[in-house]
């Protein structure tokens, strides 16, 4: 148990540092294990500082910066031990356009590398345009959900008229 955990820590930490720099276009970040008698009881600390900023308490990061840091950690776990499926429910909601772009580029890279299949729920126009295929969920009959396969134009229409 202990060797496995420490082994996976090293790999996840390695990937996390690379992904953080990729998502933020610089800065630095790393993981740390908290002190504990038995490594199996230790916790995982995250140290991150966006480009040009000093290392600080995670809670001082902005909403968008926290979302990006969390995604970097999540995908680091993936690169270490891929999961067959990943569902992201409006994780791009707090991101500005520049970061939505970087997020999409990263998802597309991970999907190609690990073979993980992604379901991405979004309201963002940019994210929709980067998907391999789109499904629209509508409630033509109020309270009853229907799933239809759509192209980008139809998705745009659903987005606008609801």
């Amino acid at each position: 148990g202990r060797e496995r955990l420490l082994g996976s820590f090293d790999k996840v930490n390695q990937h996390f540092q690379e992904l953080f720099v990729g998502l933020f276009g610089g800065g630095r970040a790393h993981l740390a294990m908290t002190e504990a008698e038995d490594p199996l009881d230790a916790g995982l600390e995250i140290m991150a500082s966006p480009p040009g900023k000093k290392l600080q308490v995670m809670s001082l990061l902005s909403g968008g910066e926290q979302a990006l840091t969390a995604l970097a950690l999540l995908f680091a776990v993936f690169q270490t031990n891929p999961s067959p499926i990943c569902v992201l429910d409006e994780v791009d909601a707090p991101l500005d356009d520049a970061n939505v772009d970087r997020f999409c580029a990263l998802v597309s890279r991970i999907a190609a590398e690990t073979g993980t299949r992604f379901l991405v729920i979004t309201h963002h126009r940019i994210t929709m345009a980067r998907m391999d295929r789109l499904f629209g969920v509508t409630m033509v009959e109020r309270g009853v959900s229907q799933l239809v396969s759509v192209d980008l134009q139809a998705a745009e229409r659903i987005r606008r008229t609801g």
Binding site: A42, T69, M139
Partner: protein, 168 residues
């Protein structure tokens, strides 16, 4: 082993039988507020063995069954099926021989829920083990619910240790 398709009937707002194909790469899901996008995520968690109604935003498990609208009566049964394809005949010992694995979960109002694996009734524990062996499951960090992406950052260090265990 890949996730290939999700089928729902009577589950939350998906009263009519619905199929969602899950293909390689990135599948986008769009639609107005309240149309049922997040309900799809909960259907996937549920069929993989999720046991807490609260984690699927319900008060009790019966809240997962279609409750009716002003125009349609409530249903008494909900069923979700996930189809896994297994082209390379890999996968956990349980199923290494078959080309497809179909896991179904069905609940009746006021009754419990039952699981079926390729048509044969099976225990919840076996279903949870199957998905754990595949590197996923209802509590997997790779199912990020709405509004929860920041939770990894705000969690306590001990709570994040699960991520390392998933990576091991």
């Amino acid at each position: 082993v890949n996730f290939a398709k999700l089928r729902l009937a009577g589950f939350k707002s998906f009263v009519d039988p619905t199929e969602l194909w899950i293909e390689p790469g990135m599948t986008g899901i769009v639609g107005p507020n309240g149309c049922g996008k997040s309900n799809l995520v909960e259907a996937l968690r549920w069929v993989m063995g999720e046991n807490s109604a609260r984690r699927m935003r319900g008060g009790e498990m019966d809240d997962l069954i279609f409750g009716g609208t002003t125009a349609r009566p409530a249903r008494n049964v909900a069923e979700v099926t996930v189809l896994l394809d297994n082209p390379a005949r890999t996968g956990p010992a349980l199923l290494a021989e078959v080309p497809e694995i179909e896991v179904a979960r069905r609940i009746e109002r006021g009754g419990g829920s039952i699981y079926r694996l390729n048509g044969r009734e099976t225990r919840q524990r076996d279903v949870q083990t199957l998905f754990a062996d595949l590197g996923t499951g209802p509590q997997s960090s790779s199912l990020v619910s709405q509004g929860r992406v920041g939770a990894i950052i705000n969690a306590k260090p001990e709570e994040r240790r699960g991520l390392l265990e998933e990576a091991a």
